[in-house]
């Protein structure tokens, strides 16, 4: 039996509530951060940047849930799209520094002068324009996902094999970005940002606006994702997830459906990465580490796979837990995370959303038996 049900918690009402809650929380924190220092409701810059980080991660989790929860693709490399989006935005932020860098060069970022480069590499072209950066933020992850997915789904790479090669993809990218010669700052990545669109990145107002924008974009992505999975196309995805061969025999093209949702998901991850960079202030190759991608999967599993809201919830809760844990008991965070992986898969196959639904006594939806899938395929 497939332990994952897809329906009740992703009901339109639930998603709208979740989106509203996200916007309200982001807006509330943004306002609170603008209150004077002595006010009991004042939110410090640290809290604001943490909240921005959580919401960016929630976008990554949403992206993972789209492909894992609805198309059955367990991705172990989604952080690659997140990081690529981050680097695209980071390039723009680097150029915004202009002549205020250590070497005072108006055109070249510091690390290029350090490598004694004379010109910007071609792929940095246009990076001084925010609009171009915004295009790159979705285009680069989308393009990579398109090429990778087109190759992988067309040749019916699936299951664990697909998981492993997504992991290899992000690992290869990590190795590549660690190299100075690639022109993205090597080990140190891109950092020391000053402005965005002329506004000081360290000013409370800019940070409050960024947090609000993150909340709005997360809410928009949530609604867009709900629109996708609620459409006929979404039903096709679920069909592909539960019985890919049957769907194919019925005349659908599973690989096209998978490719579409895969690219869409990569773009959401890219936007998440871009928002992350503006608020955390650094992007380095460590973001490509395979462990990050796997962690983003556990956020989804904790919240509840195939529920959209659960992904957002899971990402925020697990990351809050991480922040608290690493502050109080740094030694034990890995035990906690490890147990979270094990206990969620063993005892909470439907995540927190499943638990909530159970508490509300909503009967689980009838799900397709999985027998057909494991027997019929690739015979």
């Amino acid at each position: 039996m497939n332990p994952f049900s897809t329906h009740a918690p992703r009901s339109l009402r639930g998603v709208i509530w979740m989106a509203a809650a996200v916007v309200a929380a982001a807006g509330g924190l943004a306002v609170a951060s603008l209150l004077p220092e002595g006010n009991p409701l004042h939110a410090s810059a640290f809290v604001v940047s943490l909240a921005g980080k959580y919401l960016s991660y929630a976008m990554l989790a949403l992206a993972v849930d789209l492909v894992w929860g609805f198309a059955g693709i367990l991705t172990l490399g989604h952080a690659a799209f997140f990081a690529l989006g981050g680097y695209a935005m980071g390039m723009y932020l680097m150029r915004e520094i202009g002549a205020r860098g250590v070497y005072g060069n108006a055109d070249l970022p510091d690390f290029m002068i350090f490598l004694s480069w004379k010109n910007l590499p071609w792929y940095w072209w246009g990076s001084e324009h925010f609009a171009w950066a915004a295009v790159l933020v979705v285009a680069v992850p989308g393009l990579l996902a398109g090429v990778f997915g087109w190759l992988a789904f067309r040749s019916r790479v699936s299951g664990v094999y697909l998981s492993i090669i997504t992991q290899a993809l992000t690992y290869a990218l990590m190795l590549a970005f660690f190299q100075n010669g690639l022109g993205f700052g090597g080990n140190n990545g891109l950092t020391d940002f000053k402005d965005i669109l002329g506004a000081d990145l360290h000013a409370p107002l800019t940070r409050a606006v960024l947090l609000l924008v993150t909340g709005l974009l997360l809410a928009a992505s949530l609604l867009a994702a709900r629109f996708v999975v609620g459409s006929r196309f979404g039903s096709l995805l679920v069909a592909v997830r539960d019985a890919e061969s049957r769907t194919r025999f019925l005349g659908y093209r599973p690989e096209q459906a998978k490719l579409l949702v895969w690219v869409f998901s990569a773009m959401i991850a890219g936007v998440g990465g871009a928002l992350y960079v503006t608020q955390v202030g650094i992007i380095n190759p460590g973001e490509f580490a395979p462990a990050n991608s796997i962690e983003s999967v556990i956020w989804v599993a904790v919240g509840g796979r195939g529920t959209l809201c659960g992904a957002v919830l899971g990402a925020i809760l697990v990351n809050m837990g991480k922040t608290l844990f690493t502050a109080w008991l740094p030694e034990f965070w890995l035990y906690g995370l490890g147990l979270l992986f094990i206990c969620t898969t063993l005892f909470l196959p439907n995540g927190l959303m499943g638990l909530w639904r159970h508490a509300r006594k909503a009967p689980p939806e009838e799900v397709t038996p999985e027998v057909a899938d494991t027997q019929g395929e690739e015979a």
Binding site: F148, S155, Y161, I164, L175, V297, I298, L334, I342, T345
Partner: protein, 534 residues
């Protein structure tokens, strides 16, 4: 005895060659040591070095130790603590002339003295000393040493020293400015150097080939020798890289076979496999510590004791993990992947808490240290041992799979789980044993890796992705596939490495495997048949 008589003979011959001017020259030589002209001093050193007079050696040694003094009248004295002896005669002096000054050393004099020492060492009884002396002479190209080198060459028996001396002789000849009458000897030297080969010889020959002052015939010959040496160096370089590749491939093979078995039988990717390797390495360390504390005499073979211990410990741990965790996730391979990842985090942190986050020092026993030179390549013994070990493990595994009931059952479950169950095979038991076997193999890999890599809690992480690549590249349920994939990935990386660098080579291999999987989604050796589950 024989060496001593040879030395006497040589000393006599040397006298004949270099001391024809006779005693008078020697007498002057002592005085010349104090000469203000550098040329005279170095000439005097050469003369004295060739002298059979024991007093000459004493004087030179004193010069090196700054104990040689010159009086304004030209007489030379050696200081022994507070007293002085006359350098020429060795007579103790009650009083010394006024204005006695130490003879100063400078670089040229030091070099000359070092050459003298090298000349003496060239005839020393130990081959190692002679080889060192030849090395020292090689760098100097001192034509004055040529007769000595030629003599040493004539009496030398040791092959390595002979080769080196041949090089020294040729290098010395070629190091002199070209003269028309020396063409024959220079040609011979070029040929000798060409025959010896190696990077240093290539450097000298390239210098000759590129020099306008040399005769065209000589330059041509040198050029030919350079390209011959280049070809040799390249061929040995390829061989060396192939060995590195083979060695890395054997490590990958060890790391991946266990993974391939669990994946083949259960369709489960064990993300904690790398941590099993890490535990195997820690077990090696513990076995070494225990043996050192109890029976120090057995320390050299501690590594051999660690092999079965690591297998049993990791295998038992694997069975516990299967019974305690994996079996509840039966039929959900992707969830298993997440759960074992969680397990790997816990194991890492547990080892970190117990043994500390830093590297531990696993000893490499003496019989596994060092390397042997085969032609132009170095074979390190520990890597060679791992290569052999990987072969033995693979062979043993093949035997288990082919000729034991467990192997038969595992193969049956791999091919068609349901049918195997219907035939009366207790698949849960096979699962547990297969998982235990896989973990035990990881433990063996850990023992091997502890000999070539840092042992820290992060050890597993550095191998796990490469091992996955091997498994998906090779295909499931076929050990030949695993073997081929491990060697292909190991060799592929090392062959690309010189051209594009280590990291780029790694990236290239990853990308190639990703692309290969697109063409062959089930690896190089897929299991075929109706029973294949997705």
């Amino acid at each position: 005895m024989r060496r001593v008589s040879t030395t006497c003979l040589l000393a006599a011959l040397w006298l004949g060659v270099m001391l024809l001017p006779g005693h008078g020259a020697r007498a002057d030589a002592f005085a010349d040591l104090a000469s203000p002209q550098l040329g005279a001093v170095t000439a005097a050193i050469s003369t004295l070095a060739a002298s059979p007079d024991p007093q000459a050696g004493v004087a030179l040694q004193a010069l090196g130790e700054r104990n040689l003094f010159a009086a304004p009248d030209g007489s030379v004295y050696i200081r022994h603590g507070e007293s002085y002896v006359e350098a020429r005669t060795g007579q103790p002096q009650a009083s010394v002339p006024e204005g006695l000054k130490p003879i100063r050393l400078n670089n040229r004099i030091r070099t000359a003295l070092a050459g003298v020492q090298a000349g003496r060492d060239l005839l020393a009884p130990q081959p190692a000393t002679r080889l060192r002396a030849a090395d020292a002479l090689y760098a100097r190209h001192d034509p004055a040493m040529l007769p000595l080198v030629e003599h040493a060459l004539a009496v030398e028996k040791d092959a390595a020293v002979r080769t080196r001396l041949t090089e020294v002789r040729a290098a010395t000849i070629l190091g002199q400015p070209p003269a028309p009458d020396a063409l024959a000897s220079r040609l011979e030297a070029v040929r000798a150097l060409g025959a010896v080969g190696g990077a240093q010889a290539r450097g000298i020959l390239a210098g000759v080939a590129g020099s306008d002052a040399e005769a065209p015939a000589l330059r041509h010959e040198a050029q030919a020798a350079v390209s011959r040496i280049d070809w040799h160096l390249r061929a040995w370089g390829v061989a060396q890289n192939a060995f590195y590749g083979l060695s890395y491939g054997s490590v990958l093979l060890l790391a991946a076979t266990g993974l391939a078995i669990t994946f083949g039988v259960m369709g489960v990717i064990n993300m904690a496999h790398g941590e099993m390797m890490m535990i195997g390495a820690y077990v090696t360390w513990m076995v070494q510590q225990a043996i050192r504390a109890t029976v120090p005499a057995l320390e050299p073979v501690a590594i051999l004791v660690a092999i079965p211990v690591a297998f049993v410990v990791c295998g038992a741990l694997g069975i516990v993990i299967e019974r305690g965790l994996i079996r509840f996730l039966y039929g959900r391979p992707l969830e298993t992947l997440l759960a074992t990842w969680g397990l790997s985090l816990i194991l890492q942190q547990a080892v970190r808490s117990i043994f500390g986050p830093t590297n531990i020092a696993v000893q490499t026993p003496g019989w596994l240290s060092g390397s042997v030179a085969v032609g132009g390549m170095d074979i390190t013994l520990n890597r060679l041992a791992i290569l052999v070990f990987a072969g033995l493990v693979l062979g043993g595994l093949m035997l288990v799979l082919r000729h034991t009931p467990l192997g038969l059952q595992m193969r049956a479950v791999t091919q068609n789980r349901r049918m195997a169950a219907l035939m009366g095979i207790r698949t849960p038991r096979v699962d547990a044993l297969a998982f235990g076997l896989g973990a035990g193999l990881a433990g063996l890999a850990g023992v091997a890796v502890s000999q070539i890599d840092n042992v820290s809690p992060n050890l597993g992480q550095s191998y796990i992705i490469d091992s996955f690549m091997v498994v998906v590249f090779g295909g499931v349920g076929n050990l030949w596939g695993t073997l081929a994939a491990a060697l292909a990935l190991g060799m592929g990386g090392k062959v690309l490495e010189p051209a594009i660098g280590a990291v780029s080579a790694k990236i290239a291999v990853l990308v190639l495997v990703i692309l290969y999987i697109q063409r062959h989604p089930r690896g190089m050796f897929p299991v075929r048949g109706r029973g294949v589950e997705s």
